[in-house]
Structures are given as structure tokens and as C-alpha cells.
Subunit: 227 residues, 2 copies
């Protein structure tokens, strides 16, 4: 019997730090650096070195004492772990401002995401091309997603249309939803939902700002100089 590596369930927190490490490591690799220690990485981000070590553990890479980890090995293992080595095709629904920006974001390729087409119900948009990608009417999504085996759907429609867009996608066999709309979404348990909501991040920012202003205190946010 062959033992496949058991898929480790990793905390969101760790998962979200991995791209930061990756970006740093790619820079180091470009500089020709061979090895790097958790201590060094931690210093860059003002993290705890132990935390970095724990995070890197999930990639399966092992370091050597006094030397650290192989940079190239880490880069590859993090990409592998995140699923960024194999490109995933994705559909985008909602070709408004945000949708356009996402369609034009070239870096997604690096992250294994390939937006193959956009969908919108606005007749002025349908038929046009945005950054080389065709804008199709929403009702063409189900057939196409089945034919092309697309499993990721990006939601960049206004909040009030989000649920119906998601329902359509789920029925069409989409297995993972990346949601930019500020709406709660209902999906079956076997579909993956990841929210990327600007408002949440903004909430943290403006609340901090208000607090700073309210108190004129300068040590309350001593933790915010971190990454």
C-alpha cells in the first residue's frame, strides 16, 4: 500500500502568512541567496521566529541547524502547498470597476489563477473584451463551465446580485467561490467559499484611526507596525 501524504489542515492564519514568505523568498532567490533562516524571515516581518518555523513546517521542508532552509526548496514547496504550481481556470462574474481591475491584474498568473472569461448582464458590456478577455452574457456560464471544466468563480457583482450569481455558479458545477461582494452568501457545504472583502480591512483601519484620534495615545497601537 502506498501512503499518500495526508493533507494537513492548516490554520487560516498560517495560510495567509505563506504568500508573504513566498514573496520575500522569491526576492531572495533573485538575489542569488541559497539559504535563509527562520530568524531572518521573522525579522523582515516582525514576526516571532518560532511562528515562522511552525508555518514553514506545513510545507514539509526541513531546515538544517546553523544554515536554515534552502530558499529554492521553500519557494517550490510553498507554491506546491498553496496549489499555485498548477494553474486553475476561473470565471469572473460582474465586469464593473472591480471586475475590470481583477481582469487586468496580471499577477494572478503567478498565483495559479487564470481568468478565462467574464460574465455580465449589462448589454453594453456583453460582447466587448476587457484585457483580452471576452465578456459573455450570464446565461452562457453553465454550459461553458461544464464544457471547460472551470471550477473557480469570482464574484464581483453588487451585493444584491451576489446570491443569485452564486446560485447559478454552484448549479453549473463551480467548486470554489472567491467573493468580493459585501453580502453573506449561502452555498452547499462541499463548495469552497473565500471572501475578499475590502470593507473588513477598511473597518480595521478606520477604527484604529478613530481610536488614535480619540485618545491621542501613542502606545495603544504598538502592534500595528507589523506586516
Amino acid at each position: 500500500m502506498i501512503f499518500k501524504e495526508k493533507p494537513v489542515i492548516v490554520s487560516r492564519s498560517t495560510l495567509k502568512r505563506l504568500p508573504l514568505y513566498l514573496h520575500l523568498l522569491e526576492g531572495l532567490m533573485a538575489q542569488g541567496l541559497e539559504h535563509v533562516s527562520c530568524t531572518q524571515i521573522a525579522k523582515e516581518f516582525d514576526f516571532d521566529p518560532t511562528q515562522v518555523r511552525k508555518d514553514l513546517e506545513v510545507t514539509g521542508e526541513v531546515g538544517t541547524a546553523r544554515i536554515g532552509f534552502r530558499v529554492a526548496g521553500l519557494v517550490d514547496s510553498i507554491k506546491e502547498f498553496l496549489g499555485w504550481n498548477n494553474a486553475h481556470d476561473a470565471f469572473l462574474v460582474g465586469a464593473g470597476n472591480l471586475g475590470k481591475a481583477l481582469l487586468g491584474y496580471r499577477d494572478f498568473e503567478k498565483y495559479g489563477l487564470n481568468i478565462v472569461a467574464a460574465f455580465d448582464n449589462d448589454p453594453r458590456k456583453v460582447g466587448t473584451r476587457i484585457f483580452g478577455k471576452e465578456v459573455l452574457p450570464l446565461n452562457k456560464l453553465p454550459n461553458l463551465s461544464k464544457r471547460m471544466h472551470v471550477h473557480i468563480g469570482i464574484v464581483s457583482v453588487p451585493a444584491e446580485y451576489a446570491q443569485s450569481a452564486v446560485d447559478l455558479m454552484v448549479n453549473a458545477g463551480i467548486k470554489a467561490i472567491w467573493n468580493f461582494a459585501p453580502a453573506p452568501l449561502r452555498i452547499p457545504a462541499d463548495v469552497i467559499l473565500e471572501n475578499a472583502r475590502l470593507t473588513q480591512s477598511l473597518a480595521v483601519l478606520t477604527n484604529n484611526l478613530k481610536r488614535n484620534r480619540d485618545q491621542g495615545d501613542n502606545n495603544a497601537n504598538s502592534d500595528v507596525s507589523k506586516i
Copy 2:
């Protein structure tokens, strides 16, 4: 002696849930609903009711048994708590794709954010207007930010320029940075930094997708149907 309300330090987790509640509550208010219970709110998002209660506690609103909370009161208190009642002026640096999208995102007004101008060093962009907002050369930022008392800076430049953009802003008196670049940033402790990195969210998504695929298991992500 007058006791000012002591500014409560609230966890990021709570802070990030508040905008979700707010959005829901605004919907309920539009429907004419007067009161709402934590139980109802929790049900919408598949959260724990106690968690919702604890989150709402920070706003200072008190509910009444058997009735719940006043919807209008909650909406106002959450906005107040997040600092979304008073508009904050902001500068945006980097008028690329993402920058453009942010400039065109009308909802920011609702969230108390008012982008007053954009800055870029690309001569083809300087002098143009994007969604009515002027694009200025970066070297005009310091003077303007002081004159206009702008305290928020939005970073949407490529990673390699992020640090220098931030340094410029910090020197110009910017007090809070909203960073979209996938780079680690160094800032003084009294400046607020909030990162809004798409790659982090994408990492969670693609990793989940890979895990699901690797194992063909359907109960490993039983938590992903939540908000």
C-alpha cells in the same frame, strides 16, 4: 472630572465582523424592521449567537430581552464605532489597474472614505482624471497632504515601489496606510498600517481547493459554508 468613554481595544476578528452585521442591518432597516435579536443575526451568518452578542457589546448598544436590539441604533453605533460616520480624506498612490478600480469604487463613501486625489509617476497618467479624480505627480503629495490635512494613504503601486511610496507618505504626515501591495512595509510605530492583500485570500482559496482535490473527501471543509 469628566470620564471620557475609554476607547476599547477590540480584536481584529470582531472588527472584521462588524461590517457584515452593518450590511445586514441596513438591509433590515430598509425593510422597515424595528428590532433584531442576536439569534437572528447569528443565523444569517451561521455564527454563534454569543459571538454576535459579544461583538455588538463593543458598540455600547444594549438590547432588551425578548425583543433584541434596535436596528437603527445598531446601525448608527456600528458606524460610529468604526469611524464611518465622519468622512476621512485619503490619497491614493499608484493609478494602475487596481488603483483605478479603487478610485471608481463608489461605496467607499458609505464607509467614510473619500479619496480626494491620486498620485502616480507615469507621465502618461499624470494630468488625467480617473472617475473625476485628478492624477498628480508623486512629488506633489507632501505639500498637498499637509495643506489638506489628509491622513490616510492608499498604496496600490507594484511591490517594488511600495516602501518608497510609504516613506514619502509617512514623511508627509500621513497617519494611516492602507496597503494593497504584496510587500512587507516598514513604518513608525505611531502610523497605522492595514494590509488588504488579495494574495492572502487567494492562498486560502487555492489551498482549500487543492486539499479537496487531493483527498476527494467531502467533510474536511465543513466549515467553509460559513460567511
